[in-house]
Structure formats: structure tokens, C-alpha cells
């Protein structure tokens, strides 16, 4: 049961506030804001998504955010403020007296009549649905579709199109000697449909796709690769998905509802080739100096380019100065020493498959080294995005739209993208 629903701005004012049951004391939003903002004295720990204060339970609610985003196109403070009447209208249909009625954009469409005022997506950084909970953390940019499901294009006619995104978040931990300790792929096939008339869609996946690792021990890295089969540890499907033919030809059929939704989530612990290898060398150079050499190598084909690579490495707390020695002739990279966090940051705009890059950093310390410097620094962590690449090799082989007598061929977008979730090399 939900008593109240509110959305606050970063400063703590109400953007949206709805009281469903009138059983909570006044000022709950303000209490909530303070509690989250000042969760622990030092502000180092963040508030969990659920907590109880004075007998009132505060939740982070996810699905409502998605429905609102479907309508507004972009979920930001500005779009919420401009469309608050629409948002209230949605909230009234989503929840009645604290009970969720529906979060399906498809169903909501028949009850909701206000038209969204579209906000220019590029102008504002999106206020993620979890902005308060996730200060400073990077989020998935989603499917990058920032179009409302109900708003018409300026031309007045809706464009017939469907987006299918295969998004894989990968986690890899390398040991200090460079072996893969753990690895996992968390994938999702995300769909956003703007097709009129809700035609049936068939998605064909790899022929050699298997679900369930069966007798294969989890995290077994003993030569199971190379066979080419894609083995999912487990997966789940959206309500609309029918799997009648899945066992025969690996196709999923569905009538996509409006709005953005995951067709399928899957998890793979099968061995895969990590897209990057990292080599870290730390050498002491006298009692107050040391040199760090970071080498990163792109282990994917040269036809593919990774974007916005960020390599971070915590340095000893007594580091006072760092001099960088970047490779010559490479544009779009820079290195920085974040003094307050004692962290080395190395940004590279683009890395082409097969290439290798090196950074040399000379550290100066304020006190003499004692013990092992590798215990005071690291691990090295990476974030990156690699478009049109997915390490699992899961594929959408074709996307079939059942025609309903119309000649126009809808646009179909099938996109792949891989992102680092937790990509860490110990030193």
C-alpha cells in the first residue's frame, strides 16, 4: 500500500506530491529529504532505497518512473515541472487509495488525456529516477530514445518504428597476475515500440542458445568456450512474450505494448573474452617517489571502437604530486590527479580495437614509503561503452513484424552495446 508519492528536486522542494491515504504525518517529504541528504554524518554512506523512520516507510519506486518517462520522453526536473498536470493524471490512474492499479503504459493510454509538453532532451542532464539515491553514480543511458509514446512528431504524423537494443553490462575482476577471477554478463533485450495497431513481432535469437548451465559447474573456466554455443545461466521474460516456438527455432513472439520494456533479461557466467586487458606496474624510485605504468589493450576487432573510456586508480594517501607522461600523437586523452580523492584518472575518448595505450605517472610522496606500495594503491577500475559489440555473442537474427495490410515498412533498429559494470584489475 502506498500512502504518499512524491518527487523531490535536488534541493528538496516538491516537484510532485500526492497523498493517497492521508495516514502519514505532515512534512514527510521534508523528513525524507533530510534523512537521505544527511544519511550518515560523514556523508560517505548512501541511504538504502528503503528505510523506516518514525514508523513511516520510505521507498524508492521504480515502475512509476518508467511510466512517466514513457509519457514525457525525458524524465527530468524540467519535464516534470512542465507536465505536472499530466503527471498527476498518471499518478491518479497508476495508484488508487494506495493500491497499484496498473503501470502499463499501454493500459494507461486509454485513461490519460493530457498531452505532454516535450522538453528538449539535450538541454538538461536527466534527473535519473534514482537521482537522490544514486548521487554521483553513473547510470545506463537507457535506449537513448527520448521520444514520448503519445506525442506526435512536428510533422503531425507518427513515425512507424521499433527499437530493439541488446545491452550487456559486464563485470570482470582480474587478479594481480592478470587472470580472470570472476566474470559475468548481465544482459537485457530492451524494446521500445512506436508501431500503430500493435502488430505481432517475432524475434529470432541464436540457434545454439541454451538456457540453464545444467551440469556445467558455475564459473568453470575449463575449455567450455570455443564451442560457439551461447549458454545463459538464467533469464526471465516480459509478460507479453510467448515462448511457444522457442524450443524449436529459438524465436520469441510478442505483441509489444507501448512504451519501453525489457523483453528479456539474462545472465551469463560462461567464459568470454574480456574486451580490455590492463597491465599495471608500480616501481619505487627512491624513498619519496614511485612510477606507475598503466597499459591498456583493446582485445576486440579493429572494426569496432570503444567510447569514453575512463581508467581510475586510487593512489597512496600521502601522494602529493603526480606528473604524467602521455603518449604522443594521440588526441582525446588526458590524465589527471584528483587530489581530494587521491585518485588518478585517465580519460580516453576512443580506443580502436587491437590498439594499446600506455600512461606513465611519476608520483611524489609527502612521507617515506613503508611496506608495500601495492597495498596502498589500486585497484584499477575501468568504465567504457562499446557500441555494436556484445561479448556474449547473443544475436537478434531477425525481427519480423506481422503486416496488417499496410505497405509502409516500419523502421527497425537493432542495436548492440556493451558497458562496463564493474571492471576491475587488482594490482
Amino acid at each position: 500500500m502506498i500512502s504518499q508519492f512524491f518527487v523531490l528536486s535536488q534541493r528538496g522542494d516538491n516537484i510532485v506530491f500526492r497523498d493517497y491515504r492521508r495516514d502519514v504525518q505532515k512534512g514527510s517529504a521534508e523528513i525524507f529529504f533530510r534523512k537521505v541528504k544527511f544519511w550518515k554524518d560523514d556523508g560517505k554512506e548512501e541511504a538504502p532505497p528503503v528505510f523506516n523512520l518514525d514508523g513511516v516507510n520510505y521507498f524508492h519506486v521504480k515502475r512509476i518512473a518508467r511510466a512517466i518517462k514513457d509519457y514525457l520522453g525525458v524524465l527530468s526536473e524540467e519535464s516534470m515541472r512542465k507536465n505536472f498536470v499530466l503527471v498527476y493524471e498518471l499518478l491518479d490512474e497508476v495508484i488508487d487509495f494506495g493500491y497499484v492499479q496498473t503501470t502499463s503504459t499501454e493500459v494507461l493510454k486509454s485513461y490519460v488525456f493530457n498531452e505532454p509538453i516535450v522538453v528538449d532532451a539535450a538541454r538538461l542532464p536527466t534527473l535519473g529516477p534514482a537521482a537522490l539515491f544514486m548521487q554521483g553514480n553513473k547510470r545506463m543511458p537507457g535506449t537513448a530514445v527520448t521520444k514520448s509514446v503519445v506525442a506526435n512528431d512536428p510533422g503531425g504524423r507518427k513515425r512507424e518504428e521499433i527499437f530493439v537494443d541488446i545491452i550487456e553490462k559486464i563485470s570482470v575482476t582480474f587478479s594481480s597476475s592478470g587472470y580472470v577471477l570472476t566474470s559475468e554478463i548481465d544482459g537485457t533485450i530492451q524494446m521500445k515500440s512506436y508501431l500503430t495497431g500493435n502488430p505481432e513481432i517475432r524475434l529470432a535469437l541464436n540457434d545454439d542458445l541454451h538456457i540453464g548451465r545444467g551440469s556445467v559447474p558455475s564459473f568453470g573456466y575449463s575449455g567450455s568456450s570455443g564451442t560457439g554455443a551461447v549458454i545463459l545461466d538464467d533469464c526471465n521474460f516480459h509478460e507479453s512474450v510467448h515462448m511457444d516456438n522457442f524450443d524449436i527455432d529459438r524465436t520469441l513472439s510478442l505483441v509489444p505494448p507501448d512504451g519501453e520494456f525489457p523483453v528479456m533479461n539474462y545472465r551469463i557466467t560462461q567464459e568470454f573474452k574480456p574486451p580490455f586487458t590492463i597491465n599495471t606496474l608500480i616501481e619505487e624510485a627512491g624513498s619519496l617517489k614511485a612510477e606507475v605504468i598503466l597499459k591498456i589493450r583493446a582485445e576486440f576487432p579493429s572494426s569496432i571502437t570503444a567510447n569514453t573510456i575512463l581508467i581510475e586508480m586510487p593512489l597512496p594517501t600521502y601522494t602529493t604530486r603526480v606528473n604524467f607522461d602521455l603518449e604522443r600523437g594521440i588526441v582525446g586523452q588526458n590524465a589527471d590527479f584528483k587530489e581530494s580523492q587521491k585518485k588518478l584518472e585517465w580519460n580516453i575518448k576512443k580506443i580502436v580495437g587491437g590498439s594499446e595505450h600506455t600512461l606513465r605517472a611519476k608520483l611524489t610522496f609527502s612521507q617515506e614509503l613503508h611496506g608495500n606500495i601495492t597495498k596502498e594503491a589500486g585497484p584499477v577500475s575501468l568504465t567504457f561503452t562499446i557500441p555494436m559489440y556484445n561479448p556474449s555473442r547473443l544475436q537478434v537474427k531477425y525481427l519480423q513484424i506481422a503486416k496488417k495490410g499496410k505497405t509502409t515498412n516500419p523502421y527497425r533498429w537493432v542495436r548492440y552495446v556493451t558497458q562496463a559494470n564493474s571492471y576491475v584489475a587488482r594490482i
Binding site: Q101, F219, C235, N236
Partner: protein, 840 residues
């Protein structure tokens, strides 16, 4: 219902008062009301939006009410909706408007358009005006029979709203049986689901007083009803499925065949992308198979993969919720998850609350086969730059060591932590080494060698310092420097803020003395002297006890202070198994996330000690809420669970230890009052006349004139500093440190109680007597205040906790001060000031 006017926050001066704009709007709306010109609706929409946006930011726009209603005589749903939003906001607090609103909405309940009928009915039921409920009965009855499912869906919830407004009206109109009929035959699944939720709530609330309702509630769990829902499962929306699954989880099947049938039917729900559906299904599976051990275990195996997928596929928020459930299952059956331990490795970028759960699980699943790898992984986290994470990881290593037989390697690792020379690592490790030694005394030799090298100057945290001191005392025999280190610590007695450390120090010096008397004699003498003079009651008492023991008989002292110790075999579990079972019963609810049964956080009565500290969190501080500086303090105070918060909280965890959580006396709602009651009896016997000492009236009259406290002829006259200030943090710290010097019960003038409707009245009144309110809060009839006052000369401070029961006019006082001699005088002063409240 509508966005509330934010009455708790006064509009800032920069905001427009809106007066002019509102009358402008009024004129414009009036002009449009009768217009049929094309495009009128668009203009109206713009104006309506303006009205509503004013309303949202707290400007009073109730004056345009009739214009709004007039303009809404249209078929434009968007306008209607905005109008409903608007009228809903003003009806509740404006009875004149309420009747108008009801007329308007009743008319719309008969509109041709089912959408409008539904919306009007929802708005009508949401008005929340209790004395107008009879107007709801007709439209609701029609709504339940409406041909359109949207209207029926709204009506089904409307009945519940009516029930909460007036249970008797709802029951007299025979709505529950109607809902039941609808539930069992309606074609629309959402109508069915809404009937179910409404009936569940109504019958559960009625069940305590009505046998019939209790019976009806049971029939919801009967086989035909449950099967009816199961068969329609796929028609329901994902959220309605959750409600149905929750119902099914309470159903008791007759035999195992039935159990398998239900599980087979629901099997595919485990692959649902909605985590709520999956968890609800899992609950059904787990609860149904509880008595079938083998099958129950198979269920664990079966749900493992879907749970792990949910953990990794969603946002961190979803991960956390699912992981909490996985955590519960891992704790119940660690062996089933022992090969999955790598899934519980922490990822670099996870939020701390997720990492902490994972560490718990890693500790739980550690067994002979995987301990080495788990501990290796944990050691990586210890070296982490993230300090809270490093601490938790050390604790995890320690816990694993305490539960394993072969701790050899782990002890080595722990000792290596001490060599890392990071302060937080050393501190955390010391505490663990102490616990390890209590369980495995055989390791003392290795540990002591390493611990002996730690300079006590590098250990500042009280818990770690106490652990180190304990080891110095316990192993005084084997640690060469023990007496001298202790001596150094005793010399710095005055700088030691933690009473816990001082207590440990006393005991350690005693132990050391009993073994190495000549070397420790001086330290012991100093420690006892300092201890006896200590202002902390426990430290004082312990020092005195030791002193008298030694005087009485050294060998008796030896037997009491330093008896041969048995190794601890099992450390007390933090939660009783009964508690854990309760949480398991409440699977798929907040209980799992909070790791405590629901009664501990929903039931006010049971919150006992929580209530005390948490109540304080909501107390507002200071007497002038508009003052910016005070507001800032308030934020800080709330954050820190002002006063006593942490210590009380820690104690409350302890209730789980003995499994007697239910009848522990301190769970009584009147804990705080009850505690001081005990003191009061003692005090009042001694000084029965202090309640209303006649002499204080003289002072009173002077004070009543608003003058700073002036001396009267009475000898113990006390003069307070009119400008005394203290920040809430300092107050909090002081309140913790000081013992209660005086605890009394008194009463307050009923007229004063009447004045308490304004929460600022009492603080303002007391301020006139140079007694400042630091924090206040509570709800009728119980109010709590913390006051602070300072002696005019010198720095002696008085801290008062004052609990007022406004219905009995009783007042409980607790006074703490660092000047014991004047506490009685201050108490009289305080009470006389209090007795003046309301009579001026």
C-alpha cells in the same frame, strides 16, 4: 485529493502572494464560463493549469471555486480532470465548498461518458469529508453495477475509501457482500483484484469485532476462492498477480498433490521480469513446502537462478530488495548456496548497502571447501580505500574465523592486518583479535607477540582501545611491557572520554596488579583514585568495589576479578530463531529488508525503545523555527537521531538475544515515563514537600514579570544565565555523559495544557525564565521537551527532559547537571516556572 498546500513551509518572500493574479484569473474564467466559441476549451485548459500550479506552490486559489465548476460544464476530459484535482483540494477544509463539490460530482457520476462517471466517482470518494458520507452511498451502489469496467474498478476501491471514512455507513449499505459477488463473477480482472484488496482490508479490520467478518475473511482463503483466482492468474496485471499470490501463500492445501498442482501452475511465474511477481511466487513455494523437507530444499535450488538474475538485471534499488531476500534464504540454508559464493563477491561500484549484505552472505556460506578463497577475496576489500568497507570486511573475516574449526590461516591474515598500519584497520582488527582469543585461547602466544608491538597511541577508537586494554590485562603475564603501558594510560585518565575504556582500564590494572604487583602498584593506586573521583557512576562504583575488595581480602579479589576463564564456545546470536522464523513468515515484505519482524516497526506499542530515539528524530528544535540558523541545527539534529539515539538503539538490538522480545517489560509504550517513575518514588519519599515548595512562589512572582531569575530571600537561590546557549550536539553529548541527578513527577496547570496546541508556547514561556528549549516533539497526549539552562556564575549547566501528558496533566522530569549541589534548587525553579505556564 490533491497536492496539499504546503502549510508547513511558509512561502518565501520572493514568491508572489498571488492575490492580483488570482483575481485576474477569476475574471478571465468567468468570461469563458458561458462561451461556446471554438477554441474555448484550449484557453480554459491554460487557465486551469495556472490555477493548479498556484495551488501546488501553496497559494490559496479557493476564491475561484465557482468559476472553476462553471467552466467544467463541458465534455472535455482534460478540463474535468483538472477541475476534480482542484475541487478535491478545497472540499475537505472548506465545508461550504464541499457541498457544492458533491453536487457537482454527483451530477457527473451520471454522465454519459464512462470515463467521466469513473473520474467523478473517484473524486467523490476521495474528498474525505466524514459528515457528508451519505452522499456517497447512491453513486457507489450505481458504480458497482455500472456497465463499464472502469467505473466498477473505481467503485470497488471507492467502497474501501467509504469504509475508512465511516465503517458503519459502508456496512449498513451492504457493500461488502456486493463486492464479494463482483469479485467472483466480474469479467474484468482489475475489478476483481480491487474487490479482493478492498474486502481483505475491510474484513481484516472488522474481524476483531465481528465474527461474521472473521468468517468471511476465512472464506477468502477457501479452496474454491483460491482456485478461482489461480485459474484467472494470467488475466491479472502484474501488480494484481502479486496480491493474488500473497493470498495463495496463506492458503493451506489439503495434501501434497494439491501442493504440486499449485506449484506446477505457478512455475512459469518464476520467469517473470517483474521481481515482485517472482518474489510473491517464491513465497508461495516456500510456505507450501515447509513441512516437506526434501521438496523444500528443491525449491531452494529452483529459485536460486531466478533470484540471482533479478539481483543482476535491475537497478541497485531492485538488487537491494531482492538481495535482502536472498540474504534471508542464505542465512536459513547456507549449505545450499555454498558453491555460489562467487555471486556474493562485491563489485567495485556497488552501493555500500548492497556490499554489506553480500559480506554477510559470504560469511554465512563459508565452509571448509571455500573458506580459503572467500577469505582471500575479503582481504582484498580490507586493503580497499573505502574505509567502511574495509571495516566490514575485517569483521567478516573475524566472523568466519569464529565459526571455523581450522582458523590457523585466518589468524595469520588477521595479524597481517595489524601490520598494515592503517588506523581503522588496526582498530577493527584489535576488537576481533580479542574475540578470537576468548574463543581460542591457544592462539594467545602468536597474537600477543603482534599486539605487543602496537603502540597504544595509534589506537584511538574506544572499542579498539578497550580491546587492547583487555588484552593487556588478561595477558599481563606474557606481555613484558603490560604494567608500563597501563601506567601510561592511567596517567592520561582525564583525557579519556569513553567510560567504557575507563572501565576496562580499571579492570586491566587490577588483573595486572594481581599478577605483577610490584610493577603495577603505582598504576593501581592512581587508577583507583581517579576512578573513585570519576563522575561516571559505573566507573566510580567499580573503582570503589575494587578498592574495598582489596582492602577486604586480596585472594577474594583475585577470585572475583581474575577467575580461570573458559573459552567461549558460541557467541550469542544477535537474533533469536523465533525472530528469524517470523521474518521468514513475512517473506516478500519490508520485514526482510529491515531484518526484523513487522511488529517491531509498525506497531507503535512495540517500538518501545525505538520509539524513544526515533521520536526524538522528529522533534523540532529551538523556539524560532523561522530562524535560518536554527533550521540548520534542526537538520543536523534530526540526522543524528538527536540525543541518546545511538546508544538506545544499540540496546534495543539486544532484545533479540534472549528471545523474550514479546514480554520484555521495556517494550511497554510508557517506557520513558516508567523509567523515571522508579526514581521518582525514591526521591519523593525523601522530599515529599518539594513538589510545590511554598517558598518558590516568591521567586515565581518575580519571574512572572518576565525578569531574569532573581534571587529571593530563600538561601539556595539560583540565578540563571539569561543568554545561555548550547548547540544540540553538545547537548546530546552532555546528556549522554551525565547521570540523572534528579527525577521527579509533577503536574501542570490544565490551562497550560490547553495552550500546548501551539507547540511554541511552552518553549517561549520557559525562555522567559532563562530556560531554553533545545528540542521538542510528540503528539497529543504525549509531548517531550529538552531544556537547557546555565548558572549565571560559572559554567554549571542544567539539562532537563520533560515529558508532559496533556490528558492527565502529569509531567515527568529528569534533570541532569554537573553541579549536583544545586540540582534541587534548579528543580524547584524549573517547576515553579512550569507551574506558571498557562496562568499568565
Amino acid at each position: 485529493m490533491a497536492p496539499p498546500a504546503q502549510s508547513h513551509r511558509s512561502p518565501s518572500p520572493s514568491q508572489p502572494s498571488g492575490k492580483g493574479e488570482v483575481s485576474d484569473l477569476k475574471t478571465q474564467l468567468r468570461q469563458l464560463a458561458g462561451s461556446r466559441a471554438p477554441g474555448t476549451d484550449d484557453t480554459k485548459r491554460e487557465l486551469f493549469k495556472k490555477v493548479i500550479s498556484y495551488m501546488t506552490i501553496g497559494i490559496d486559489v479557493s476564491s475561484v471555486f465557482s468559476e472553476m465548476v462553471m467552466c467544467s460544464a463541458t465534455s472535455d476530459i482534460v478540463l474535468k480532470k483538472m477541475c476534480y484535482l482542484y475541487v478535491g483540494n478545497y472540499a475537505k477544509h472548506n465545508p461550504d465548498l464541499a457541498l457544492l463539490t458533491i453536487n457537482f460530482l454527483q451530477r457527473d457520476c451520471k454522465d454519459e461518458d464512462p470515463m467521466i462517471r469513473g473520474l467523478a466517482l473517484r473524486s467523490l470518494c476521495s474528498l474525505g469529508v466524514a459528515n457528508l458520507v451519505e452522499y456517497l452511498v447512491g453513486p457507489l451502489g450505481n458504480g458497482l453495477k455500472d456497465g463499464n469496467s472502469y467505473v466498477r474498478m473505481v467503485a470497488a476501491v471507492g467502497v474501501l475509501k467509504l469504509y475508512h471514512l465511516s465503517a458503519s455507513t459502508c456496512l449498513d449499505a451492504d457493500f461488502p457482500p456486493l463486492l464479494k459477488q463482483l469479485m467472483l463473477k466480474d469479467k474484468d480482472a482489475q475489478v476483481v483484484a480491487n474487490c479482493l484488496t478492498s474486502l481483505q482490508e475491510i474484513w481484516s479490520l472488522e474481524a476483531s469485532t465481528s465474527e461474521e467478518a472473521a468468517r468471511e475473511r476465512e472464506t477468502l482463503l477457501s479452496k474454491p476462492v483460491v482456485y478461482y483466482f489461480l485459474n484467472r492468474m494470467k488475466e491479472f496485471s502484474e501488480w494484481a498477480q502479486c496480491i493474488v499470490l500473497e493470498l495463495v501463500s496463506k492458503y493451506v492445501p489439503v495434501d501434497s498433490e494439491e501442493i504440486f498442482d499449485i506449484m506446477n501452475l505457478l512455475e512459469d511465474r518464476l520467469h517473470h521480469a517483474n521481481g515482485a511477481v517472482v518474489l510473491a511466487t517464491i513465497k508461495v513455494f516456500l510456505h507450501m513446502t515447509l513441512s516437506m523437507t526434501d521438496v523444500h530444499q528443491q525449491v531452494y535450488e529452483r529459485i536460486k537462478a531466478p533470484l540471482l538474475t533479478l539481483v543482476s538485471s535491475g537497478s541497485p534499488e531492485q538488487s537491494y530488495a531482492v538481495l535482502s531476500h536472498l540474504h534471508l534464504l542464505v542465512m536459513r540454508a547456507p549449505y545450499i548456496f555454498s558453491s555460489d559464493y562467487k555471486h556474493f563477491y562485491c563489485q567495485y561500484n556497488e552501493p555500500f548497502y548492497v556490499k554489506k549484505l553480500k559480506l554477510d552472505m559470504l560469511t554465512a556460506v563459508a565452509n571448509e571447501s571455500n573458506t580459503y578463497e572467500i577469505v582471500t577475496e575479503l582481504c582484498e576489500y580490507v586493503a580497499n580505500v573505502d574505509i567502511p568497507m574495509a571495516r566490514e570486511s575485517i569483521r567478516a573475516v573475524g566472523k568466519i574465523a569464529l565459526q571455523q574449526y581450522d582458523v590457523n590461516a585466518i589468524v595469520d591474515r588477521l595479524l597481517q592486518f595489524l601490520e598494515m598500519e592503517k588506523e581503522h584497520v588496526t582498530a577493527e582488527t584489535l576488537v576481533l583479535v580479542k574475540d578470537l582469543l576468548r574463543k581460542y585461547p591457544q592462539w594467545s602466544h602468536d597474537c600477543i607477540a603482534v599486539v605487543g608491538n602496537i603502540s597504544s597511541k595509534n589506537v584511538q577508537e574506544p572499542k579498539a582501545k578497550a580491546a587492547l586494554i583487555w588484552m593487556l590485562g588478561e595477558y599481563a603475564q606474557d606481555m613484558q611491557d603490560s604494567p608500563y603501558i597501563l601506567e601510561g594510560l592511567v596517567e592520561n585518565w582525564d583525557e579519556e572520554n569513553s567510560a567504557e575504556v575507563r572501565l576496562h582500564l580499571l579492570t586491566a590494572v587490577m588483573k595486572c596488579f594481581l599478577r605483577r604487583a610490584p610493577e603495577t602498584q603505582k598504576a593501581l593506586g592512581d587508577a583507583l583514585a581517579a576512578g573513585v573521583a570519576d563522575f561516571h557512576q559505573d566507573v566510580h562504583d567499580r573503582a570503589l568495589l575494587y578498592y574495598r575488595l582489596l582492602k577486604y581480602d586480596v585472594s577474594v579479589a583475585e577470585r572475583i576479578v581474575n577467575p580461570p576463564k573458559q573459552a567461549v564456545s558460541v557467541f550469542a546470536d544477535t537474533q533469536s530463531s523465533e525472530m528469524k522464523d517470523r521474518i521468514f513468515d513475512e517473506f516478500n515484505s519490508l520485514s526482510v529488508v529491515y531484518q526484523k519482524p513487522s511488529y517491531m516497526f509498525t506497531d507503535k506499542e512495540h517500538r518501545g525503545p525505538f520509539a524513544f530515539s526515533e521520536e526524538l528524530g522528529s522533534l523540532s528544535i529551538g523556539t524560532e523555527p523561522s530562524d535560518g540558523a536554527v533550521a540548520a541545527q534542526r537538520v543536523e539534529a534530526n540526522d543524528k537521531d538527536l540525543l541518546l539515539g545511538t546508544s538506545e538503539k544499540e540496546e534495543s538490538h539486544g532484545y533479540g538475544n534472549n528471545g523474550s522480545a514479546y514480554n520484555a517489560p521495556s517494550y511497554d509504550a510508557s517506557t520513558t515515563a516508567g523509567a523515571s517513575q522508579g526514581h521518582f518514588d525514591l526521591v519523593s519519599i525523601d522530599q515529599p514537600s518539594t513538589l510545590h515548595p511554598p517558598s518558590s512562589f516568591a521567586i515565581d512572582d518575580l519571574l512572572g514579570l518576565g525578569m531574569p531569575a532573581a534571587p529571593s530571600s530563600a538561601p539556595p537561590a539560583l540565578l540563571l544565565n539569561a543568554k545561555a546557549t548550547i548547540d544540540p550536539n553538545a547537548f546530546q553529548q552532555k546528556w549522554r555523559q551525565l547521570p540523572v541527578s534528579l527525577s521527579q513527577e509533577t503536574s501542570i496547570d490544565p490551562q497550560g495544557v490547553a495552550g500546548m496546541t501551539n507547540p511554541q508556547a511552552l518553549p517561549q514561556h520557559m525562555q522567559g525564565h532563562s530556560i531554553n528549549c533545545i528540542a521538542s516533539g510528540g503528539q497529543a497526549p504525549n509531548f517531550k521537551f529538552f531544556f537547557f539552562a546555565q548558572k549565571a556564575e560559572g559554567s554549571s549547566a542544567y539539562l532537563v527532559e520533560c515529558v508532559i501528558n496533556s490528558s492527565s496533566c502529569k509531567v515527568q522530569l529528569k534533570i541532569k547537571t554537573d553541579d549536583q549541589a544545586t540540582s534541587q534548587a534548579f528543580s524547584e525553579l524549573f517547576q515553579s516556572a512550569l507551574s506558571k505556564f498557562g496562568s499568565t
